[in-house]
Amino acid sequence: MTAATPSVARPRMRMIPWRAPVAVVAALVISYLVIANAAGAQAQEQFINALTIGALYALIALGYTMVYGIIELINFAHGEIFMCGSFVAWWLITTMGFTGTIHDLPILVIVLVVVFLVSMLVMGVVGVIIERFAYRRLRNAPRLAPLITAIGVSFILQNLVFVGISNSIVKVPQLIPFDLLQIGPLAIREINLFVIVFAVALMIALQLFITRTRLGTAMRSTAMDREAAQLMGVNINSTIAITFFIGSALAGAAGVVQTQYLGNTVFNIGFQSGLKAFTAAVLGGIGNTTGAAVGGFVIGFLEVTSSVYGIGRWSEAIVFGALVVVLIFRPNGILGQQLADRA
């Protein structure tokens, strides 16, 4: 789904334009300056807040964009998978008996690995099951039919948690310390550092997977032209299932990040976060994994900026307003749509 033109075998890695790093640095500097203009002494801290929440949105947006890229479905149930992932984390952490920060590094690492792996695995499987039963049969149906089942599935997941677990905010113990680290001139809390590094690492891994492996190639070719890929020997069903697995696993990881960074979860966070993540995916250029990441950071930045400027009341209008404006001037998102054009 990141292939630019089908004629180039491995386009992404070779074609990174020299402009890309420059653009990233420029974007970071400009957004920092915009925040600093109003945040005063808290500029650095607010900038890190924006990066952290942006990383969370980016993780959810990746799943949206992958599913969209391969079957052109706005998977409204994706936000609920994120929510379920956070409940898996809550269940694991409380069952293991942890109630607060773990200061012993080896134990912390082990616990985090367990929580992330289990949550990602469980949600990945849930994603595959949903695809199998709610979407696969509708692959050749009118385009809106799977959209309605997606919303139906999101109702089901949300209400299963609501009826079975909790109908209100659930507090989740935060395992990672909030202590400030001083890295050169940069002061950053351990939790923020963890979230940003972890999310970026996942994104890079995903990028490598998509561009460097056979499965990744199968996914890209399926996204480009399903029939042609099938003729070339790609197993469409399993490729789509794998896409759902990876996308949902990323949402599961995002769910864990939510509980660790914000310390709580609730049965209805999926919808709102999912909506923002979807916006992020479109903002970046839907079907484009790099774009989804960029979109996630942009939305995090917009939210924090509106709060810093004292217009938090309007933050939703600002986020969606920015989306409308960007799409008017760049109809294919910031980085452009990178899947085969099938209108």
Partner: protein
């Protein structure tokens, strides 16, 4: 799999939502609100009086499903409890139950349709509800046109009965502008905002406050009144923020606090809008030393109660916290009420169970007074309405003695002050202030 177990699991959680204030059940008892059956409609042994009297109905119009079930169900139970305790000779009273929740949240058009339905049934003489002020706005025109008296246990938006924001409440009663068919036993938001300012300035002794709201009717209402009154007392509002109620990440708002030199935070809203999360994120950023104040939207149980404000705010976050409840702390026979409720529903009463009980007592007293010998339902409905709308009548109720003024507001204008108590990890009663003598405006 026994499906009822799932329901019971969900039932152990509490949530106070919507535009409302706590009634008068003592706050520590407001803890657990069950979603579990029995719902009153199914189980109410209402008026099991053996002598078959005239069959009449009391309507209940509350959100009973979705995220708002914890608000509606215990409130409705209060009505059933009252009917089981008090009989009116000559009448057999049953419950007609309606639910105004749609897709999990209260829905004004559904409320209006329910009110129509209750009005269409001539044997319905009185309605307890609604829970949310926005639903009340859609129902008051209907009950007014039908001449059916409704008593809300939980509505606190001043505009429903008084001129508020320059709007005359008569616009809600286009059919009969001078006829009151809506009364309420909860105290209005303006008193709570004023009480919050009183706490911040006089009890906590703070002079500069950061004021936020969750952009909902209730939260914005009390935060606005807080800001006005805090300034009037001599304090400074350093920043006035609105934080959308769906927000989950408050870190940037909390970080911004550091640059404001605020020594008090007042946040209008409810726990489900994220006030507890805000407080816990204050603690994460080492700002727990700044006191935090709110309305009864956060006085929803001790730290041991899952999903309550104190629970979500966490061990470090809950210190230095103040709350108010729009009602008297000392209610008559609180212990008796709680044990009766527990005996009937095997759960603790909700925040508005006692208020709904009081509403029912109002109806029963009116029926007793005007019901003798009347068999025409339309006449009886009007007689009940007229009795309740008369300010001279006073009621000896679960909330204490009160009457309704010409607008339909309760004469009880008492706000109770609470603070977090570190030893019990629960809200501790500080004092209560009567606003009858010195009204806010």
């Amino acid at each position: 799999m026994n499906l009822r177990n799932l329901g019971a699991l969900a039932g152990t959680v509490i949530l106070v939502a919507g535009a409302c204030s706590s009634g008068a059940a003592s706050p520590t008892a407001t803890a657990v609100t069950p979603v579990v059956t029995p719902t009153p409609a199914a189980s109410a042994p209402a008026a099991s009086a053996p002598a078959a009297g005239i069959a009449v109905k009391i309507g209940i119009e509350l959100p009973m499903t979705g995220g708002e079930a914890p608000n509606g169900v215990p409130t409705a139970n209060g009505v059933a409890l009252a009917l089981s305790k008090i009989q009116v000779p000559g009448f057999t009273i049953t419950i007609e139950q309606e639910d105004d929740a749609l897709n999990g949240t209260h829905d004004p058009p559904t409320g209006a349709a329910n009110m129509q339905k209750l009005a269409n049934d001539p044997s319905v003489l009185f309605v307890v509800g609604p829970y949310n002020s926005s639903v009340a706005q859609a129902e008051i025109p209907v009950s007014n046109a039908a001449g059916l008296m409704q008593c809300s246990p939980a509505n606190t938006n001043p505009g429903l009965t008084q001129t508020w924001g320059g709007v005359d409440p008569k616009t809600l009663r286009p059919t009969n502008p001078d006829k009151i068919a809506y009364v309420r036993v909860a105290t209005t938001d303006d008193l709570q905002g004023a009480a919050g300012a009183d706490i911040a300035y006089n009890v906590a002794g703070k002079k500069s406050a950061y004021v936020a709201d969750d952009t909902e009717t209730y939260g914005k209402g009390i935060a606005d009144v807080f800001a006005t009154n805090f300034t009037k007392l001599g304090g400074t509002v350093v920043k006035r923020d609105g934080i959308p109620d769906k927000t989950t990440d408050f870190t940037s708002y909390v970080t911004a606090l550091k640059g404001l030199n605020a020594d008090y935070v007042y946040y209008g809203g409810v726990t489900t809008s994220g006030l507890g999360i805000f407080r816990s994120q204050m603690a994460s950023q080492q700002l727990a030393t700044i006191p935090f104040g709110g309305g009864d939207g956060i006085v929803d149980g001790s730290a041991a109660t899952a999903s309550s404000f104190l629970n979500v705010a966490g061990a470090d976050g809950d210190a230095n916290t103040y709350g108010t409840v729009a009602g008297p702390h000392d209610i008559p026979n609180a212990a008796q009420f709680t044990s009766d409720y527990k005996a009937m529903f095997s759960a603790d009463p909700g925040a508005y169970s006692a208020a709904a009980y009081a509403c029912t007592q109002v109806f029963l007293q009116a029926l007793k007074a005007v019901g003798t010998g009347v068999t025409d339902m339309a006449a009886l409905r009007e007689a009940v309405r007229a009795y309740v709308a008369t300010p001279a009548n006073s009621y000896d109720s679960a909330l204490g003695t009160f009457s309704f003024d010409a607008n339909g507001d309760t004469s009880q204008k008492i706000v109770s002050y609470y603070a977090f108590d570190a030893t019990t990890k629960a809200w501790k009663f500080l004092s209560q202030r009567d606003f009858t003598a010195n009204p806010v405006q």
